[in-house]
Every structure is written in structure tokens, then in C-alpha cells.
Amino acid sequence: MTNDVRLALAKDLVMALENNDEAVADEILDKISGERESQLFQEVGLLTRQLHDTMASFSLDSKIAEMTENDIPDAKERLQYVITMTEQAANQTLNAVEGLLPVSKELNEQAELLSGKWERFLDREMPFAEFKDMSSEITKHFDESKQSLKIVQVGLNDILMAQGFQDITGQIIKRVIDLVQNLENSMVELVRISGGHVSGSKKTNEPALPGPVVPGIDDKQGEVASNQDDVDDLLSSLGF
């Protein structure tokens, strides 16, 4: 209500009172107090809305604080474990390759040498004494080949097993990506609230399938099997 309107109403009220016009005076008083009331309601409504927004942003703040305090360090540890696992896999592979290279080189050199001698024998250029030597060398080569190929087999198996890191680390990284996604959603929410719009916040839950156990993170509460022996013990306790 503007000042002019209020002044006009006050003058009307004075006039009505001077004229002893009770009905008109009451009407004007009602009008003034009614105007006041509706202004008060608007004010209370505005305050209520501000309170609601503030409360909502408070709960969102605590969600982000929780993420900062727990989930992000948790994700960092998980990613650290990814590094450890990939490093182990790389080392395991390199160890195997480094162990196998000399073995295959040695076999190759022996084969080259013997095949040269064998050519000479086929060309009938080899004296009998040398042939006897070659025969024992061939026998030795066969023995060494059998041993070496067993070593190669084991080494190749090591390399094969080292590739398992890809599955494990892939699953860990996927979980961290989910966390980043949740964080992003919360930030968007916060921006939306500070812009004056309120909407319900989504809940984050522990995934139904938590995936690989990360040592030091997932095995704290003792509700997970940290190795195959734990699994076997659990299953045998169930009569398996």
C-alpha cells in the first residue's frame, strides 16, 4: 500500500469519525488491517521458502562434505590399487619374458649350430669321429630342448595369468567413475538450489555387486572373503 493510499484512507477515517459514521469508519479500519495481514502472509511465505531452501542446501552440503571426507579418499585408494595391480602385472610379464628370452636364444643357437653340422653330414663332408661328436650333441640338444620348453610353458602361463589385472582394474575403475557421476549430480543440484530452484536429491547406495575386494578398504569389517581359502572354509562350513 503506497503512502498516498494510506493517507487518503486515514483522512477518510478521520472524516467518518467526525461525522459519527460508524459503518464507514469500521469498513476503513478493516481495509487497513486486511491489507496489513496479507502483507504479513506474503512475508511469512517468503521466509518459509527461504528457510526450506536453506535446509535443503544444508543437507546437500553435508552430502558433498561426506563425499569429500569418505568417498574421494576411498576412490583414491582404489585407484592406487589399480596402479599396484597393473604394475604387478607388468612386472610379472616382464620377469617371464626376461626369463624366457635367454632360454629361446640358447635353443636357437644350438639349433643353428647343429643344423650347420647336419648339412655337412648330408653333403657327406663329415669325418666319422666328428659324426660321433654330433650324435652326442644332438642327444644333449633334445634333452635341453625338453627342459627349456617346459620352462617356456611355465613362463607363458605366467604371462597369461598376469593379464587378469585387466578385468579386476576395469571393475575398480568403473566403480570410481560411478562416484564421480554421483558427485557431479550433487554439484548440479547445489547449483540449481543456489539458483532458487529446489528439487529432491537422489540417494547414493552401496552397489548390489561391490566387485573386487580392495585390500584395506573392503576387508575391514570381516564380511568378505579375502582369499580362496576363506571361500573354501565358508563353503565347507555350509557342508559343501
Partner: protein
């Protein structure tokens, strides 16, 4: 244990399928087929001819536990020996798999020795 039996290997990671297939080959099992989740595995199983199922748990589409339940619920397939090879290591999950009727449970990362031991154990029980 018949070395010519047909084995279905189900895992969403192709590297893990390769590892398992190679290990099986090393153990003398060369007759293997692959699927990348329960949804693609089930029609292969229903078509018949599979003697042994090796499956992961956490896969998109249809999980290994749902595949296990589907196999046990199918009168044609209910006796299929099933080995679960998974990273899921929560006690409640292992118990859930046992209750659903899994024959063996190997957690990743695993060794060639563990896989061999579990497969042998499964077929010892079946043959014995």
C-alpha cells in the same frame, strides 16, 4: 572326467575369457565356447550339448547368479555342473551362490592351481 566335454565360459571381459580358456586348454580341455553375459549364454545352454558351465557373477544384461538360477530352474539343464569364477567376495554372496546350487566358487584374482583343483573336485563328486 571327459577331456572332450564341451565347456561354456561366460564373462563380460574378453581377457578373462581368454585366460580361462587357455587354462582349460592347459588342463586338456580344448572344447570350449564363450558368451559375454547370461543373456547370450542361456540360448547356447538351451540349445544343448554343453557339459560344464564356468561363469562370472557381475555382468551387464544378465548376471551370473541369475544365469545359475535359470539353469537350476530348467528341467533340461538342472544337473549342469557350474563353477563360478568371480571377484564378488562378500560372505552373503558366496552363501547366496551356494544356496542357488553352485558346484564351485573361485574368487578373482585366482591361480591356475586353484582352477584346476576346483574343476577336479567338481568332477570327482559327479563321477564318484
Amino acid at each position: 572326467m571327459d577331456k572332450n566335454m564341451k565347456i561354456l565360459v561366460v564373462d563380460d571381459f574378453s581377457t578373462m575369457r581368454r585366460i580361462i580358456k587357455n587354462l582349460l586348454r592347459d588342463l586338456g580341455f580344448t572344447n570350449t565356447v564363450e558368451a559375454d553375459d547370461g543373456k547370450t549364454a542361456l540360448p547356447i545352454l538351451e540349445a544343448g550339448g554343453i557339459d560344464f558351465l564356468v561363469t562370472d557373477w557381475n555382468m551387464p544384461g544378465m548376471t551370473g547368479i541369475d544365469l545359475l538360477k535359470a539353469v537350476r530352474a530348467n528341467p533340461e539343464l538342472m544337473d549342469m555342473p557350474i563353477l563360478m569364477v568371480t571377484a564378488e567376495a562378500k560372505r552373503e554372496q558366496i552363501i547366496m551362490a551356494a544356496q542357488a546350487g553352485v558346484n564351485g566358487y573361485v574368487i578373482k584374482p585366482f591361480t591356475a592351481g586353484t582352477l584346476k583343483e576346483k574343476i577336479e573336485k567338481i568332477f570327482e563328486r559327479i563321477d564318484g
